[in-house]
Symmetry: C2
């Protein structure tokens, strides 16, 4: 049987992702230093504390941890998360306003699926989290990019784009953003910009999906309020354990209106029914015993050092735009004077270094700015390899520019 | 903000599931004996062996178990599963023909999404697994029921239905079935019936999604080959750890053509990207040390006893059709001479016993047979409560019949 002739439109819409998956695989070959994937550094994991927490779970809640759990999440975990959101982010919410999901992305998916129809435009900051774009496309949504600068999403551009779409009779309902240590730019919106964007969102009645994945990983500067705390009604906050505990648990959560949370839960019935009880119990035990807070501290120290090492190494790097010095997160972003996909292949094949070419982070991957940008991740690479990685990348870039 | 006015068509299509969720919640109230949910009996869990396996995972693979893992699953687990499929089910497959997913349902979802478009008919045996129907509807597919009898899906009805749809210009591409200890009927197809259905599937070029969730829980009679072993090219087998280890891991797997597996993996990038490494490592450690096989043995013994207790208790029960004595699985199924939804509310409110009304298992929940059937689960209820549960149910039925 030839399955290729049987694929649905949805299956065709995800086919492009295969290329990105292929390149990430290439990046994992021996001999390649990878600045590609956004994986946590294994050194932030606290194995002893994790083992202790898991032992307590299996001793005190073993049979429950192995069985089905409530669709919206284990009640005690939702209570813990509500408390944590209040304490860490000044986001006031009840446990009923929280849906536990299997990573932040699952929450983003259900938001898009609950709030947009096939063919609807969905607003994204340009550039944005690649997999959120993919999910939007899989659901037959139409990603529309809104330009951003170092202060965050451009509110005038948002106003203009939302207005134009409305005049064209295809009003946008949803805006997806990452205001804190964003993937892929590492950028954090200023407080002024947060307020301005929310005003425009209000004017155009947009539901705002705020990706807070890296939000706790600030290692410099002052805390800034998440959009959710500034406009609690309009904003859906999506958070995850992936960067503060470990992606291997596959756990995240959504904070939103309780009616919406119920609806997202019904959509979750059709992906995995409920998130894993074992992982939920572990996250709860680890969190309540102080493990999460201690790990966030460790992570902040470690990633600050790695960012500094990367910034130092990049001092003489011949990129077009200056590297933004991020106050948190995993990533650095810049533009170069050549096609970054071409640069990437050259870097992997001839120089033994990998990164992610910028075009996949744009609603329109064919624009000049999309094709000339690149994301470097410093989160996973060993610190002592950073100078060598940047050296190799510089060689690849010089070769690319002169070819 | 009123979120109710913002929901998408997909969100509207899942709204009906809310009623079922509500009833399952009612069934969990104190004082109610529940024969509703299909949960494993906690006594089949082997906590000591699970603790040992988990300790080995965290000691030997800790940082890996907490980090991201490959989208299609950890290689060693896919190898183990390929071996297990060959040993247990005579299904020959390579690791590349296996996708690890987050419960069997996630695999079913990706199959429907990869192989059908909105508006397409999807063939289901009547009755069928409720959540598979829900997923089909969420994806805007149109479930079409095909009648079945005690020997399995009716091949003539399948031929007639597939032929009629083709003549109407809306050819069906996918047939979803549960040939072994099916949810909700407990029924197992005969070998003859398996062959006949596959012949009809061949004639109409249907891809067959075979749900094997309960397949290993045979506690009486002879092993029968899964459809996948009889028609390896045409059949996609979906299996899960939920009934042989624990649903709290949220792990299942799909066995299919390797090109299709890649495509299902791309769709998985948009649900949870990869299944949990921690759960995968645990399943592997537990499986390779013999835990799974021992647990399946335990489960067979335990569920056989509970089935017998239920069948005994039901001897004088005034249902219309005889109870099928299942050779495995979790469920009993029958028909009564009243509306089973009405019976259910009466049973919960006045008699302290719950089950699942049959209509939600049918492509057309409004038909007379759908409205008069019910599913009893004996998997989770304590054995010594079974006689009392059936006694209460009998009282409720007598009251319902005389009202």
């Amino acid at each position: 049987m030839n399955w290729n002739t049987r694929y649905s439109e949805a299956a065709s819409r995800v086919a492009d992702a295969d290329a990105v998956v292929g390149i990430l695989k290439l990046a994992e070959q021996p001999g390649i230093i990878s600045l590609a994937g956004g994986l946590p550094d294994p050194r932030v994991f606290q194995m002893e504390e994790t083992q202790d927490a898991m032992a307590r779970v299996l001793r005190d809640h073993g049979p429950e941890a192995l069985n089905y759990s409530p669709n919206p999440g284990i009640t005690e975990l939702r209570e813990y998360l509500a408390g944590r959101m209040a304490r860490m982010e000044r986001v006031a919410c009840s446990p009923e306003e929280i849906l536990v999901c299997s990573g932040g992305l699952e929450g983003i998916r259900h938001c898009f699926n609950a709030l947009t129809n096939p063919g609807d435009p969905v607003l994204f900051e340009d550039p944005t989290y690649m997999v959120a774009l993919q999910v939007c496309r899989e659901l037959a949504g139409v990603p529309i990019g809104v330009c951003s600068d170092d202060a965050g999403l451009n509110p005038d551009a948002l106003d203009e784009t939302a207005g134009r779409l409305a005049r064209e009779g295809r009003r946008a309902r949803v805006l997806y953003v990452g205001p804190s240590f964003q993937n892929p730019t590492g950028r954090t919106w200023t407080l002024k910009r947060r307020r301005e964007v929310l005003e425009v969102a209000e004017r155009h009645d947009l539901a705002v999906v705020e990706d807070h994945a890296y939000g706790e990983l600030r290692y410099e500067g002052e805390w800034l309020p998440p959009l959710k705390s500034l406009a609690p009604e309009r904003v859906i906050l999506v958070h995850t354990f992936s960067k503060i505990f470990g992606p291997g648990l596959r756990l995240g959560w959504v904070v939103a209106d309780r009616d919406l949370i119920k609806r997202l839960g019904l959509l979750k019935l059709g992906t995995d029914q409920c998130s894993g009880a074992l992982a939920q119990r572990l996250a709860l035990a680890y969190g309540t015993s102080g493990g999460l807070d201690a790990q966030v501290d460790r992570a902040q120290d470690l990633y600050r050092k790695k960012r500094d090492a990367m910034i130092d190494a990049l001092a003489d790097f011949p990129c077009r735009s200056p590297w933004l010095q991020p106050d948190g997160g995993f990533f650095l972003w810049s533009e170069v004077d050549c096609d970054s996909e071409k640069l990437l292949l050259l870097a992997i094949e001839r120089h033994g270094v990998a990164f992610v070419a910028g075009n996949c982070f744009f609603a329109d991957p064919t624009s000049a700015v999309a094709r000339g940008s690149l994301r470097l991740s410093y989160s996973y690479v060993a610190e002592d390899l950073i100078p060598e990685a940047v050296h190799r990348l510089g060689q690849a870039l010089r070769e690319c520019l002169s070819s």
